[in-house]
Amino acid sequence: MNKNRMYPTYFIFGALLLYVVLYVLPSVMGLGYSFTDWSEYSREISYVGLDNFKTVFSSNYNYLRILMNTLRFTVVTTIAKNVIGLLLAVLLTKKVRLLNFHRAVMYMPCVLSALIVGMIFKSIMDPKVGLLNTALRAVGLDGLAQKWIYDSKLAFPSVMAVDIWKGMGYIMTILIAGIMSISPVYYEAAAIDGGNAWQCFRHITLPLLVPTLTVTTVLNVIYGLKVFDTVYALTNGGPGFATEVLYTGVYKEFSKGRYAVGTTLSTIMTLVMLVVGYFMIKHMVKGGGDQA
């Protein structure tokens, strides 16, 4: 390795300081507070051992469902955004008329505020006067008109669908960059050998896109675990508790002044993110090493 290409180590200090102060320190403090009874209602903070963790994992509370909802949201939206984003990226790297227009249209939802998207879709999914059901009824598909975000079984899929719609353009853009960085020489060689479109995709595009897909997966997983605004704006965790996710739960615990329980929930998710992040980054580094 050429040592002249390396920046001095102290270049990292500024970023590291910000990272430690704004992320590591609060996380460690949060871990500490999750073993206490810290709340708005008492000035004294006492050590309570694992009581808050027992509360979170107790079947008497709704927290386990909240954690499962968060993981479900993360898995489903990560897979869907990657698959749809990849499909769109493949389509929009072909010779298509008005290519940039199509790319811009697909990318546009992700620049909108999640709160605005939530309000728009709340209106679109209104069972009685919403655009979606009105359109379905207009074409004779009355049977498909549902209560969407107001139905406890459909609410979570509806929220995930909105989030996928909003986020797939961003993933598509990253994957387009990945596809365009693949040398056309491979495709030319495949064409000479008589490879069809599927074979080109399967044996050239997909393997060479793995590092990019790893990046999009990490981004989606981290986003999914931290999701708040879309759920808050669309359903605020309802109907009932059907769409409650971790950060709407943390927000509600803090608003009730139950800081310790809120911090415990947050700590659990930080640990999940650390584990997931560790393995993903390990995989990425390994992938990068293979390429080098």
């Binding site: 009874d37 709340s39 708005e40 209602y41 008492s42 008497n60 509370y61 209104d126 069972p127 009685k128 209560k147 107001y150 139905d151 406890s152 808050y232 605020n236 965790g237 309802g238 109907p239 009932g240 508790f241 059907a242 927000y251 509600k252 803090f254 608003s255 009730k256 002044g257 139950r258 800081y259």
Partner: protein, 410 residues
């Protein structure tokens, strides 16, 4: 006028954060007049009602808030939930404090020190508002028990109308059927409120509370709330009644004037009231508490905020509010003239037995108002049983009591 003589030009903007429907147009008009007189501008920050409590509490708990914040009051909740002794300014020394109605004063003060200023008419009760013309046409009379109420709903449904307009999407309205009916629990099981406050029993131990939740679910299952109750908003209730889509809704006594103001062809006299007859209730559900203005203790503009509250509490301004806010018939201050109609006076007279609603008389109920709404929705949708809902309410009360180091729970 108290302030006109002392009109000064202050370059101050006070912020006033409140839930949707708490700041009326008439108050904003008074706010403009206040600005003209004092130079102090008022920035009204109106928050959607389903998000308000969480946002307010998150702000208070993180040590930042608007100069004036609105909140439901209540002698227990302003201590355990709002912690007004820490978060709000003591208003006892204000000239208008002596004019606050004694019942409202008791619910907005701690140890005799006043912390809040009532916003709304607290004489009104949440009751079933019904279209009298529909009842006359279908030859229906006011129900006096649950079975009669079901018969009324069936007749209305058979006529092609939705019996009850209910609005779940706002998050605050549908649980009125449960919390306001604490009077029915108290009537059937006297002393329950005291036992709940002393931690000698829970809601899950009350057979009447369980029956109440079961009857609410039954109403929904029988289609009395229609199909769209989950997406309905309370702001649309007047339209639903005026256009004949629904025959009844839970409203307070300002509703007739409100509906007439929005739909002049619909006379206010066409709306009648009866108490919610769940669990055969015939007790008038009184609540001396309503939305209340508090001045945030950390406000740098507390003096300007005090001037705003003083301005609003001037008798002519209170009277202006009573006469210009359709849902106000009076305000809880001395020296104001009420505008009760004959219909409303006769409604109050029809129910001689009065009780106080549980969100006021029972500790740790009002702070979980929105959560009770979610619990009830979970029951309605079949995600949990009425017993589970009541156990969850008890558990949440116990958690809050433990955090507040309430001796009855510790």
């Amino acid at each position: 006028m108290l302030l006109s003589a002392a009109a000064i030009a202050e370059d101050v903007t006070i912020t006033y954060m409140a839930s949707q429907d708490w700041v009326q147009d008439a108050e904003m008009e008074l706010g403009e007049k206040f600005t003209e007189l004092t130079g102090i501008k008022v920035d009204y920050q109106i928050i959607p009602s389903d998000q308000y409590t969480n946002l307010l509490m998150a702000k208070l708990n993180s040590g930042e808030c608007a100069d004036i914040f609105g909140s439901q009051a209540g002698q227990f909740d302003i201590v355990t939930q709002l912690n007004v002794e820490k978060n709000a300014v003591d208003l006892s020394g204000e000239a208008w404090a002596a004019t606050v109605d004694p019942l409202a004063f008791a619910e907005t003060s701690v140890d005799g020190r006043l912390y809040g200023q009532p916003v709304q008419d607290v004489s009104a009760v949440w009751a079933v508002a019904y279209n009298k013309k529909v009842f006359e046409r279908l030859n229906l009379s006011v129900p006096t028990n649950y079975e009669e109420f079901k018969a009324v709903c069936e007749a209305i449904k058979a006529d092609g109308m939705i019996p009850i307009y209910e609005a779940v999407s706002d998050g605050w309205h549908h649980q009125l059927w449960f919390c306001e009916m604490g009077v029915a629990i108290e009537h059937a099981e006297p002393g329950t409120a005291e036992k709940l406050n002393n931690n000698e029993m829970g809601f899950a131990d009350s057979a009447t509370a369980k029956l109440l939740v079961e009857q609410i679910k039954e109403m929904v299952d029988l289609g009395y709330w229609g199909d769209n109750y989950m997406a309905n908003a309370y702001a649309d209730a007047a339209r639903a009644i005026a256009e004949g889509e629904c025959a009844m809704t839970v409203a307070n006594q300002g509703f007739p004037t409100e509906i007439n103001a929005a739909y002049p062809d619909f006379p206010a006299e066409d709306i009648g009231f009866f108490v919610m007859p769940l669990c055969d209730n015939q007790v008038l559900n009184m609540n001396p508490v309503g939305p209340t203005r508090f001045i945030y203790s950390g406000s740098p503009n507390a003096e300007a905020a005090k001037k705003y509250l003083a301005f609003i509490a001037e008798p002519e301004n209170l009277q202006y509010l009573i006469e210009n806010v359709p849902k106000f018939n009076t305000l809880p201050f001395t020296g104001v003239q009420d505008v009760y109609s004959e219909e409303i006076s006769s409604f109050y007279a029809a129910y001689p037995e009065h009780g106080t609603v549980y969100q006021t008389s029972v500790k740790y109920v009002n702070p979980q108002w929105m959560e009770i709404g979610s619990e009830l929705v979970a029951v309605i949708l079949g995600d949990q049983t009425p017993e589970q809902m009541l156990q969850n309410i008890d558990r949440n009360r116990a958690d809050q009591a433990a955090a507040a180091q309430d001796p009855a729970w510790n």
